[in-house]
């Protein structure tokens, strides 16, 4: 008697699990696109202040603002947007498994990535730069010889330093927050990654006035909108980005999200013209 009851409970639990799994799958597969009543799932970073940042359920940052604008142009209201966390290492997988419809997450357009995913944009051209204490006299990567530099484990920025500036003492941390904390303590002389990410970090309330972005970029990162391979949305997204730049919303979003960081974007490369869709 007892065994049958356990078995029945197990079957019920299993059924519940299977059903809930189906439920998740359904809402995912019914993604049609522009139709009203549907939602659009957008991958963003949750941990990058100024770009994509989770403030307890509401999201802020430049990537988020561009995403909302583009989604609006594609016919989605803000309520129809579902933001999904897209950490760097997962971005390709999220797209190829159709777990998100598009990604705005400091996603640089590169040839290797183009083999697995499609890109619209770019909507911003960032460059690798340095964040230093306000009183520092470091003006570029050449001044880093023998200094302690911090970046994130496995990031493109960390690799570039290892390849091109072997004299630098590189410390790799799980996140930029740890790097900035260590720089606040004085053990680290500079933090490196894309300039706009650094500006977002410097603009945080806790760091206001302590750090400055050097403003001497030494790479070119074209932030694109990641799309599943073969997506038909690219042209529409490019049109939306162009419109956002033309009507001033783009400029406004940058200013708003880097306020207090003493940051100006590279005006030679920005605002960018979206590349033709392949």
């Amino acid at each position: 008697m007892r065994t049958t009851r356990y078995a029945a409970a197990a079957v019920a639990a299993l059924a519940a699990l299977t059903l809930s799994a189906c439920g998740g799958g359904d809402s995912g597969e019914s993604e049609g696109g522009d139709a009203g009543g549907e939602t659009v799932r957008i991958g963003i970073k949750f941990d990058q202040p100024g770009l994509g940042y989770d403030e307890g359920g509401s999201y802020s940052g430049f990537d988020v603002d561009v995403a909302k604008y583009v989604a609006g142009e594609l016919g989605f209201t803000e309520e129809q947007i579902e933001f999904v966390e897209a950490p760097s290492a997962n971005r390709e997988n999220l797209l190829s498994n159709n777990q998100v419809d598009m990604i705005f997450a400091t996603y640089s357009i590169t040839d290797t990535r183009k083999e697995t995913v499609d890109f619209a944009g770019p909507y911003f051209v960032a460059g690798q730069d340095l964040l230093v204490p306000t009183d520092s006299d470091i003006t570029g990567p050449e001044d880093l010889e023998g200094k302690n530099l911090c970046s994130v484990t496995g990031s493109t920025s960390a690799q570039k330093i290892k390849d091109q500036y072997p004299g630098v003492q590189l410390v790799e941390q799980p996140g930029y927050a740890e790097c900035v904390t260590a720089m606040g303590g004085g053990q680290i002389d500079a933090v490196t990654t894309d300039d706009i990410i650094l500006a977002g970090l410097a603009a945080q309330d806790a760091n206001a006035g302590k750090f400055k972005v050097v403003g001497n970029t030494f790479s070119e990162e074209n932030y694109g909108v990641g799309l599943p391979k073969g997506s038909d949305k690219c042209e529409d997204i490019n049109a939306a980005i162009t419109k956002m730049i033309d009507d001033g919303a783009w400029e406004e979003a940058i200013t708003k999200n880097t306020e207090g960081a003493d940051y100006t974007y590279n005006a030679e490369l920005n605002p960018p013209t979206p590349a033709p869709c392949a």
Binding site: G154, S155, Q159, E172, Q187
Partner: protein
């Protein structure tokens, strides 16, 4: 396949595992030393030492290792400015070893204490009866038997330590294998699964001989009672 093999030209996978082996080696030695002292505390007749041993074990065993190692970098290194070597990365490497040792010492202590429990009470009574005080009795009679009974649990602690050495990435030893895996995935996200399997296999190769060896040794050296 060619794609996959080209990974090994770009990234030095054995070197990353070598960092984990070094971390584990030094941490194992320190953890064994600290853990043995703690075990002596816990079985000693002095209440304050017993209390200290119990407090240490409970604090370190119940604190996540990630937090201990992140504190090593953020607290000890960044804020308190403690350096254990003049070279930055050597200093961080040693701080990671300190964190790993302190954490695993709690588990070593408990493994040895379980070994002590295999020693019949009569052994301790006999030792005291022939006039040995606590330390000589522990050193000559109890611990030698306890270690032979504790080989299997100590082996488990060592296996856990080797796998946990990947957490040192949180303490900024990014040259170890999980750090390299992150780098490889960042640049070759088309090969995520083969990359993961490579590192999983690497750890299986490292850990299985230890399991076999300690099982064999624990049978061979167990005290027949």
């Amino acid at each position: 396949m060619e794609n996959y093999l080209s990974l090994f030209e770009t990234y030095n996978v054995p070197a990353a595992f070598w960092v984990n082996i070094q971390l584990s080696f030094w941490a194992a030695i320190w953890a064994l030393a600290i853990g043995t002292v703690l075990a002596l505390f816990r079985i000693s007749p002095i209440p304050s030492l017993q209390l200290f041993g119990a407090a240490y074990v409970n604090v370190f065993r119940n604190t996540p290792l990630t937090i201990i190692l992140a504190f090593g970098f953020l607290g000890l290194f960044s804020v308190m400015q403690i350096s254990l070597a003049s070279d930055l990365n050597a200093s961080l490497f040693r701080i990671a070893i300190v964190g790993l040792s302190l954490y695993h010492a709690a588990f070593v202590c408990e493994a040895i204490r379980s070994g002590v429990n295999t020693v019949p009470l009569g052994q301790a009574e006999a030792a005291r009866a022939i006039g040995l005080s606590f330390l000589p009795a522990a050193r000559l009679i109890i611990l030698p038997q306890a270690f032979r009974g504790a080989i299997a649990p100590l082996g488990n602690v060592l296996i856990a330590l080797i796998k946990n050495s990947t957490v040192a990435a949180a303490g900024s030893v990014a040259t170890e294998s999980s750090g390299l895996m992150k780098t490889m995935i960042e640049f070759r996200s088309d090969l995520v699964i083969p990359i993961f399997l490579t590192f999983a296999l690497g750890f299986v190769i490292l850990v299985i001989p230890i399991g076999l060896l300690t099982t064999w040794a624990s049978r061979k050296l167990a005290v027949a009672r």
